[in-house]
């Protein structure tokens, strides 16, 4: 009996996936949704978060926000509660960060905008230093500010 249940689940999933693929190939609107979902999934897998996912983490206080921009820019404005860990002075700032943040902490790194590479650099450096739960908020501070979400500085 348990064997029957185990073998039934993949079959049901396969059927469901086939139906979705068939539907998305028939309806153009569904195929657009499918494409958008794939992009979102790819982004999620690469460790990048969109605005709504970032805001959800912010609201639930379940992540540590890290500002990868220069310290003097962080000093003027940043996401409320974010910590400065700049790409340019990572080596100087990291020991303090390591002392205060446990290795399993969920970290969301951001910089100014999607084209600035500082957030991805800092995320890589953090992962190199043992932090496994690191995500990048690719929209950056510009998208956050445009949405009118909390900032300080």
């Amino acid at each position: 009996m348990p064997l029957h249940i185990k073998s039934g689940k993949p079959l049901r999933r396969k059927l469901f996936t086939t139906v979705i693929i068939l539907l998305s190939s028939i309806s153009p609107s569904l195929s657009q949704l499918h494409a958008a979902a794939s992009v979102a999934l790819a982004k999620e897998e690469s460790g990048e978060l969109d605005l709504s996912a970032t805001k959800a983490l912010f609201d639930t206080h379940s992540a540590c926000f890290v500002d990868a921009r220069s310290e003097y820019v962080y000093y003027k404005s940043h996401i409320t509660g974010a910590i400065s860990l700049s790409d340019s002075r990572f080596e100087e700032q990291f020991p303090d960060f390591r002392h205060n943040k446990a290795i399993e902490t969920l970290i969301v790194v951001y910089c100014t905008e999607p084209s600035c590479g500082m957030a991805r650099h800092v995320a890589k450096k953090l992962m190199k230093n043992g932090y496994r739960n690191v995500r990048v908020f690719s929209g950056g501070l510009i998208e956050w500010a445009h949405a009118g979400f909390p900032m300080e500085g």
Binding site: E71, Y75, S88, R89, E92
Partner: protein, 154 residues
């Protein structure tokens, strides 16, 4: 041997102009010393423990030398101090431009706010500081080193 002179009116004009400029710059930095210290940190030249002290020293130097230039108190000395500071700023900026770093220069924020001048390190701030260096030279060479309230001095 005749001493080559320099129009005293021009020296006075330069003194007043640069004096006001350095007073404003020093005051601006002192008002937000932490911001200035963070910009100095971004140059990645000084060790961390020196940064706050250097930020305070540079801001005070600018404010004091600017005031001394304005009231013509030891103008030659104060302009020489500012010349040294200009050399340091120019060298630091050229060094960072060559290293490919990109950040604010921490020079004259109010000038960038008023006239839209570029504040990021690069050719424009370097040329601007070279210009200030050239303008300081006549004061350091031909200016007076007197105390204005002592009338019997040369």
């Amino acid at each position: 041997m005749t001493k080559i002179g320099f129009p005293s009116a021009l020296i006075t004009a330069l003194r007043l102009m640069l004096g006001v400029l350095f007073i404003m710059s020093g005051y601006e930095k002192l008002m937000d010393l932490k911001f200035f210290a963070l910009i100095i940190a971004e140059y990645q030249i000084l060790p961390t423990f020196l940064i706050s002290a250097i930020a305070l020293l540079f801001s005070l130097c600018e404010l004091l030398c600017g005031t001394m230039l304005l009231i013509d108190l030891f103008s030659r000395f104060s302009s020489s101090v500012m010349l040294c500071m200009m050399v340091i700023f120019i060298a630091a900026m050229i060094n960072n431009v060559m290293r490919g770093l990109d950040h604010d220069c921490g020079c004259f924020k109010f000038l960038s706010q008023w006239y839209g001048l570029k504040e990021e390190i690069g050719i424009v701030p370097v040329v601007r500081d070279i210009l200030f260096f050239i303008l300081l030279l006549p004061i350091a060479s031909f200016g007076s080193n007197r105390v204005p309230w002592k009338k019997d001095q040369k």
